[in-house]
């Protein structure tokens, strides 16, 4: 449950942290742009233990200021929710066998819940303020908790130059954790748990899906499962299909083609009446085929983007801009009609369409797509520019 729901009296034990101003608590923070103003309304749950007796926020103000409104994190502070989540990810197993990477645990409520169900947790915290406290959580746990200063959502920033913490290279992280590459067809190497950053849900989703299709960054190490909290609005878009064409978009297609998405839990945020979904995203074992590979995925993404660029157009018109092959012929092969529009196609249809074209034997040139047209992986640029200083 979220703090406002818990209705707990505002405690000022953490006010020093709030004063640092760089995080907001789920719910209230989502509703307001000014976390500082909202300070007194907010509290933390009972079970929040004493944190960082001497938070050194004198060092950080300038840094904090620069990113204040841009870089919110959601922290789970409700004990009940944390426990529910921990139960859910444990599933039927008695003790979760997977390693959990927890993104931005903040005060560590969920961390604790996870530890309690017996999971091995690596806490990736991007705010130094929380580090000492998190470390203290794992004191007597025999190495079941590792705390690393790292921002999961800024993993592998694009661009040259040294990576400044908390951004981190996935390679370094996995090396520190001593994890090996797990083949795609094999099981799930580890699970990620956390909340998507409020303001950059879409950016993160784009970044992750690119990494997934290209088998880079964290997905280099296998089919990593995501267990994340996501807002309803974004979730609906993610799950949209021709049934609700207004929400249907590129991301929906790409994610649904790539992953099995399950809703584990819904949570209502009291003040704003917004819904949060706790979802599990597991990449399909059979995502990659002879035709769709990390070599050719860009063409696939381009194709989908192209189609949704003019979503009201007929598919046949798009095909004429996508491939020099005979559009009618392709339509026939995938069993679509001439009048079918882009929004009539289910995500899997797009994959089929792609594979049909990609596997056509007769022609040397299957696509008009050209890597050079693309501003390479332009989507990632936004992540690079976030380097502080």
């Amino acid at each position: 449950m979220w703090i406002p729901v818990a209705g707990l009296p505002p405690r000022l034990t953490l006010s020093s942290l709030v004063g640092a101003g760089r995080f907001c608590f789920l719910g209230a923070g989502a509703a307001t742009r000014k976390p500082l103003q909202a300070r007194n309304r907010r509290g933390l749950s009972d079970s929040a233990p004493q944190l960082c007796p001497d938070p050194d926020f004198r060092k950080s103000p300038s840094r904090v200021k620069s990113k204040s409104t841009l870089d919110f994190s959601r922290y789970i502070t409700s004990r009940r929710l944390a426990e529910t989540m921990a139960q859910l990810v444990r599933g039927k197993e008695k003790k979760p066998s997977h390693l959990f990477l927890e993104c931005n645990p903040g005060p560590g409520i969920l961390t604790q819940a996870l530890l309690e169900v017996g999971a091995k947790v690596v806490a990736l915290e991007s705010d130094k303020t929380f580090l000492p406290h998190l470390e203290s959580l794992g004191k007597n746990l025999d190495g079941k908790l590792r705390v690393i200063y790292c921002d999961f959502f800024r993993m592998d920033p694009k661009g040259t130059g040294a990576i400044k913490p908390p951004a981190m290279a996935s390679q370094d992280l996995f090396q520190t954790l001593g994890l090996e590459v797990v083949p795609w067809k094999a099981g799930i190497p580890l699970k990620v748990i956390g909340a998507l950053p409020i303001r950059s849900e879409r950016k993160i989703l784009w970044k992750l899906i690119h990494n997934l299709y290209s088998c880079t960054s964290i997905y280099k190490y296998g089919r990593i499962e995501l267990n994340v909290l996501i807002y309803e609005k974004e979730f609906q878009k993610l799950m949209a299909d021709p049934g609700n064409p207004d929400l249907y978009q590129v991301l929906s297609v790409l994610w649904q083609v790539a992953c099995d998405i399950k809703v584990l839990h819904k949570e209502l945020l009291e003040p704003s009446q917004e819904k949060l979904y706790f979802i599990q995203i597991t990449p399909y074992r059979n995502l990659f085929t002879d035709n769709l590979t990390p070599m050719s995925y860009q063409v696939f993404i381009h194709m989908v983007k192209h189609c949704f660029g003019k979503r009201k157009c007929r598919l046949i018109d798009h095909l004429r801009s996508l491939t020099p092959l005979d559009a009618k012929d392709i339509l026939r092969q995938i069993g679509k009609k001439k009048e079918d529009k882009v929004t009539n196609l289910y995500p899997q249809d797009f994959k089929q369409l792609f594979e049909t074209i990609q596997s056509s034997k007769d022609y040397a040139y299957k696509w008009l797509y050209d890597d050079r047209l693309e501003g390479s992986t332009a989507e990632f640029c936004i992540f690079r520019s976030k380097n502080l200083h």
Binding site: T293, G309, S321, D371
Partner: protein
């Protein structure tokens, strides 16, 4: 007004089958009457399409056929562009016309929302109208049926509130409850089908007609007679139509003409606003009218004028220029009656006819051999309006034949009339230019080395080139195999990854315009006149002819009595883009290739060659045209043996036309702007046209002179470069390698066992190598163009016409091959005209070669000379065995120029008398940190002046080292105080680290940018602790700025003052303007851009418009741009002064901004002139003049109303008047400084 009311509703002209509700609401609108339906048949849309096709045909002959077809289809679309429907007019007018405009107009209360609907509307309307005409032509009975329909329909319309929006016209409009509506919906469906059929039929017919090349519009089907707003004029008009055409002129018109123009009551402010809002559309209409006249569609132009005129709102769009244009068209044909109609319309619209109008009238009378009385009336009227007859011959641009016609008419009425004497052109009386234009004193303007006949032949060649519009140049790429494919230039230039649709559209539009311009001149007989004048002009330049007294080229051209050709405004950007878009679409539709190139031609089906695809950049979606990959492959293997250039992209083969005005000069036929600007920017041109002609003389003469320098290709260097180029290239010597040299991307099929991760890795590698090869390719293509052109011009003499940017800096117009290029390009060029070395020339060559190597930068000239003697062996070896010898030249900073110079030296020293050796090699003199020189001179900074060599000194000073030393002083202080960064930086503060920042500070680099520069330098140093990069660069940039502040205190104060002034000016909402000491008006073209989106079809295009002067300035750019731009305007002034004075001395002079070139023998003279002019320039009270100009321009003369405005105003005035005080440096000392320019 009343006449409008009384005019019967000509219903037949409005609706077709007439059962569409939309048309019902449209029907209420009154359309201009068309009286003369004697021979109906042709329709609006048809006629418009026809003219458009014809116009396009004239503009771009090679696409005309395809155009015609498409115009047929897109006729309505084009019409829409011209049809000023749903445009908000004057509010005042709206009030008066409200009752007249019918239900539709009153319904569109918010025109902005409605506009898009309106467009659809109009399209429909036009088809309907077209259909009506057609029906009228086919059977009368049908028309009567229509009438009944129309009469009935408005009732429905009014029942619906009379404002049924056209969107609802679509079938199945959102669940209309009423039964009537259901019925309507059904009818709608049916009607739509019928409509479609009709449309198809129409299209077919249109195509048929459009394809018929020899068709011409029949005037009678178009509106000829105007419908007038003024009652009085209408009666007069009625008189006109009833009687024979000639008589009314005498009787009614005299009284008509005396009427005061009605429109003067127009609110001035409102008019201003209207002007800016309509400017684009007006240009569009004007361009259309001119195109019509050019293609012989006078009647269509007339029709457009009439239809616009008779509608209150669109009449506001019409300008006197438009009426005059149409009148001129009639005058050329001698159609007096139609001319008369237009004349009446002019009066009716409230304009008072000007000289051009009367000239047209007189011309027409001259052609028609009108009787004396009429002419007399006309002349009388003219003098009553205060217009002088003489001025027709001086102020109105007329071609020879037109002039003769006018004169004929005038002589008939006034047999004693004598043509006025040509007025003397005004003389520039700027203080700085007094010497240049002085009539007394020694003048030895240089002549070309070529005789008249040769030059004349060259001219004819160039004329041929420009008439053909393109030049095919043999490619220097080594041919691989020959192919017989025929390709179009546009296609060939398309890179494999495609070309952005917008860019292509722009390009095509612009090219169409310049072709149109060339043809226009051909048709209007200007080419013949040009030939005549040019031949005479050559007498001034040729080696074997004499002119009676010394003239500058411009003066001579003006003295020849060349009448200015009528000035042609380029089509506004939207028109160009729209046209280009259309052409690009045709290209996509028309070009096909066999789907399988391997199979024989006829066995495989045809697939499009070009594809319209999208690329995604972040949130943007960019449309591209991309060639079929197989085609790209084909092109690559075929290795096209020729490269095609636009005529304006190739250097000229004869001396360029002298610049005589802001729009005439440079190329013979292709229009060239005096001041180059971003597409669609009009500010500069407007400013230039509005300033007194004499003020521009300095700039015009400089540009003419720079363009008159004859060039030739250095054949030996070219041979060497070509050898390298056709072999493997040599990136070190900036000869790019062929694409085959790049590691070919891994394309072999992967073994199936390849893991996913490996594939991902491979993909990235592939992308990397693709990127690399693309970069290589563009470098290669650039070199290919340059070298092909050089090879093409190998044995020719050629000229590089010049124009300038908005600050007055001069540039050669041909982009690929000019002396502004890189080292390689410069080495390929030399003066076509040689000059004996003279006693000291060889020394200068030697110093020059050392300068080029960059080895002895901080040594005096004697040492450089001595060094050249020392390495003479190497120099000679380089010249003799450039590729096989010791390759001394390759180690130089500018290797190719060094090599060229080595060769020249070798040739010179090996002649018996080096002093008599004819040298063609340009020798350079470079300003040392020229921007800072100007700052230091402005601020009279002693320290600064010394460090940029304004102060005489034995060894050249180096400002970068000085700054580095100063920074080091600060650093040591800080280090002693315990600053960690300062301590870390010990030993790293070098010249190299600070150089770029110091250099760019003058050009407005900020601390932010400066820090990045320094960070980059520090990063390059391997031993610098990288963790300190940020802190150290931050620290250093502060120290550099502080040091500069210390050394150039006066300059920094000036820079600050300029910045602050610009900030306040842009805060007041204006763009910063000033006038250079030579008198060139300058405006900073930085405005907040407005994105305009338009066009349908393949894709919508959006472009930013920067042209409107009413746009708000971009404050940041205005502020940051002012100091560097101002300094640039000064350095360009200095260059121009030097150029003009050198010309008077008879020198060959060209410049690359702050690097001046001349013959070795003339270096001392040029150096002297250069210093003298610098001193003269800065002896002027430049800043005071700037200050007073800005005050007069931007400070309100009257007290502003609002308090905030008043505060702003007083603050601005205060700032502007606080001109920084200069220091104590004595400017005269520059004259003795050896290294000022060296």
């Amino acid at each position: 007004m009343p006449s409008r009311l009384r005019a019967p509703l000509h219903s037949g002209s409005c609706s077709s089958g007439g059962s569409l509700p939309a048309s019902a609401s449209l029907c209420g609108r009154r359309r201009p009457r068309s009286y003369n339906f004697r021979q109906p048949g042709r329709t609006h849309a048809q006629a418009r399409a026809a003219a458009a096709a014809a116009a396009a045909a004239a503009a771009a002959p090679e696409v005309s056929c395809a155009m015609a077809v498409l115009w047929g289809r897109g006729a309505a679309r084009f019409g829409r562009g011209l049809w000023p429907c749903g445009r908000p007019g004057l509010p005042a007018e709206e009030g008066t016309l409200g009752g007249l405009c019918g239900p539709r107009r009153s319904s569109s209360a918010s025109p902005r929302e409605d506009r898009r609907k309106d467009w659809g509307h109009v399209e429909l309307l036009e088809v309907l109208q077209a259909r009506v005409r057609q029906l009228q032509a086919e059977s009368v009975s049908e028309v009567t049926v229509n009438r009944v329909d129309v009469a009935r329909l408005p009732e429905h319309g009014s029942g619906d509130g009379g404002c049924q929006p056209p969107t609802k016209v679509q079938p199945g409009a959102q669940g209309t409850p009423s039964g009537l509506f259901v019925q309507w919906a059904k009818r709608l469906d049916k009607d739509k089908q019928i409509q479609q059929k009709r449309r198809q039929r129409l299209e077919k017919q249109l195509q048929k007609r459009a394809q018929n090349p020899g068709f011409s519009t029949d005037a009678k089907r178009l509106h000829v007679e105007p419908r007038l707003l003024s009652k009085q004029l209408t009666t007069c008009l009625q008189g006109c139509t009833q009687e024979v055409a000639e008589s009314p002129w005498e009787e009614q018109l005299a009284q008509v003409l005396q009427e005061a123009p009605r429109k003067l009551s127009l609110d001035k402010k409102l008019g201003q606003r209207l002007k800016t809002r309509f400017a684009n559309r007006q240009q569009k209409i004007l361009a259309f009218l001119k195109c019509c006249l050019l293609t012989g569609h006078q009647s269509l132009a007339h029709h457009l004028l009439v239809t616009h005129h008779s509608r209150g709102r669109s009449q506001e769009l019409l300008t006197l220029d438009m009426y005059n244009t149409v009148m001129l068209g009639w005058a050329q044909q001698g159609a007096f009656r139609e001319l008369l109609y237009v004349f009446i319309m002019v009066k009716d619209a409230g304009f008072s006819p000007d000289l051009v109008s009367y000239a047209a009238a007189l011309q027409c009378m001259g052609r028609q051999d009108q009787d004396v009385a009429t002419i007399k009336r006309c002349l009388e009227q003219m003098s009553q309006e205060g217009l002088k007859l003489q001025e027709i011959f001086t102020a109105v641009p007329l071609c020879k034949e037109e002039r003769a016609a006018v004169l004929r008419a005038v002589l008939k009425a006034k047999p004693t009339f004598k043509l006025p004497e040509r007025p003397l052109s005004p003389v520039n009386n700027s203080k700085l230019l007094r010497d240049v234009y002085a009539k007394d004193g020694p003048v030895s303007y240089p002549k070309l080395h070529l005789p008249l006949d040769t030059l004349w032949d060259l001219f004819k060649q160039q004329l041929r080139v420009e008439l053909a519009s393109t030049v095919c140049v043999k490619s220097v790429e080594k041919p691989v195999a020959q192919s017989k494919e025929v390709r179009r230039a546009a296609l060939q230039a398309l890179p494999a990854q495609g070309e952005s649709f917008m860019g292509l559209a722009r390009d095509l539009g612009a090219r169409t315009f310049s072709r149109h311009e060339v043809q226009r001149q051909q048709f209007s007989g200007q080419v013949e006149a040009l030939k005549r004048h040019y031949r005479q002009y050559l007498h001034l330049l040729a080696a074997d002819t004499e002119v009676p007294e010394p003239y500058l080229p411009r003066q001579y051209w003006e003295a020849l009595g060349v009448s200015e050709p009528p000035q042609e405004q380029p089509w506004p950007l939207p028109v160009q883009v729209e046209l280009g878009r259309l052409l690009a679409e045709i290209l996509v539709q028309a070009t096909k290739m066999p789907s399988n190139l391997a199979k024989p031609r006829n066995s495989s089906r045809l697939v499009p060659l070009l594809y319209h695809v999208y690329s995604f950049r972040n949130v943007y979606q960019i449309g591209f045209l991309k060639p079929h990959p197989a085609y790209v492959q084909l092109l690559a293997t075929a290795a096209e043996p020729t490269v095609t250039f636009e005529a304006v992209d190739v250097p000229m083969l004869c001396p360029p036309l002298p610049w005589t005005s802001p729009h005439t000069g440079a190329f013979l036929l292709n229009p060239t702007k005096l001041m180059r600007a971003v597409d669609g920017t009009m500010h500069h041109q407007r400013l230039l046209e509005n300033c007194p002609p004499a003020a521009l003389h300095g700039a015009l003469d400089t540009l003419t002179q720079l363009g008159n320098c004859a060039w030739r290709v250095n054949g030996r260097v070219l041979d060497l470069v070509l050898e390298l180029f056709q072999d493997k290239g040599c990136p070190k010597l900036s000869v790019p390698a062929p694409p085959s040299e790049v590691a070919a991307p891994h394309e072999a099929p992967l073994p199936s066992s390849t893991g996913l991760v490996d594939k991902a890795e491979l993909r990235r590698e592939l992308a990397r190598s693709l990127k690399e090869s693309r970069e290589m390719h563009s470098l290669r293509a650039d070199a290919l163009y340059r070298l092909s052109l050089a090879d093409h011009l190998r044995n020719c003499v050629f000229w590089l016409p010049h124009n300038m940017d908005f600050r007055g800096r001069t540039y050669p117009c041909p982009p690929h091959f000019n002396h502004l290029g890189n080292d390689l390009a410069r080495a390929l060029l030399e003066f076509a005209q040689g000059c004996p070395l003279g006693p000291h020339g060889l020394d200068w060559l030697k110093i020059h070669v050392v300068n080029l190597t960059g080895l002895k930068k901080r040594e005096p000239l004697q040492v450089r000379h001595a060094f050249a003697e020392e390495v003479m062996d190497d120099i000679l070896d380089s010249a003799d065995n450039p590729m096989t010898g010791r390759k001394w030249w390759m180690g130089s900073e500018e290797p190719w120029q060094t090599l060229a110079c080595c060769m020249e030296i070798a040739k010179a020293v090996r002649t018996s008398d080096p002093a008599a050796y004819i040298s063609h090699l340009p020798v350079h003199q470079d300003g040392s940190c020229n921007g800072l020189q100007h700052y230091a001179a402005l601020g009279r900074d002693s320290v600064g002046a010394a460090s940029v060599n304004l102060e005489p000194s034995d060894v050249p000073q180096d400002v970068y080292s000085d700054v580095a030393a100063q920074v080091e002083v600060f650093r040591r202080q800080d280090a002693r105080r315990g600053s960690r960064v300062a301590q870390v930086l010990e030993g790293f503060v070098t010249r190299k680290v600070v150089k770029q920042t110091v250099m760019t500070v003058v050009y407005g680099v900020t601390r932010f940018g400066g820090r990045l520069q320094i960070e980059k330098r520090l990063r390059e140093m391997s031993d610098f602790p990288q963790e300190f990069l940020w802190d150290a660069s931050h620290y250093l940039v502060r120290q550099v700025f502080k040091s500069l502040q210390e050394m150039f205190s006066g300059s920094r104060a000036i820079q600050h003052w300029l910045t602050e002034s610009a900030r306040l000016i842009s805060h007041m909402g204006s763009a910063v303007e000033w006038v250079t000491p030579l008198g060139i008006p300058i405006i900073q073209p930085y405005h907040q851009e407005v994105k305009v989106k338009g066009g349908r079809g393949l894709q919508s295009v959006s472009y930013s418009v920067n042209a409107d002067s009413s746009l708000k300035p971009n404050k940041l750019k205005q502020r940051n741009g002012f100091p560097p731009n101002f300094i640039h305007s000064l350095d360009s002034t200095h260059m121009m002064l030097t150029a003009l004075h050198c010309y008077r001395e008879g020198l060959t002079f060209v410049s690359v901004h702050d690097c001046f070139w001349t013959h070795a023998a003339h270096v001392p003279i040029m150096n002297q002139v250069c210093r003298e002019q610098f001193v003269r320039l800065h002896s002027q009270p430049i800043l005071q003049e700037l200050s007073s100009f800005l005050v007069s321009r931007f400070c309100c003369s009257s007290r502003p109303q609002k308090l905030s405005q008043r505060l702003d105003d007083s603050k601005l005035r205060e700032t502007l008047l606080a001109v920084p005080k200069p220091g104590a440096f004595d400017l005269e000392r520059v004259k003795h400084s050896t290294f000022f320019f060296s």
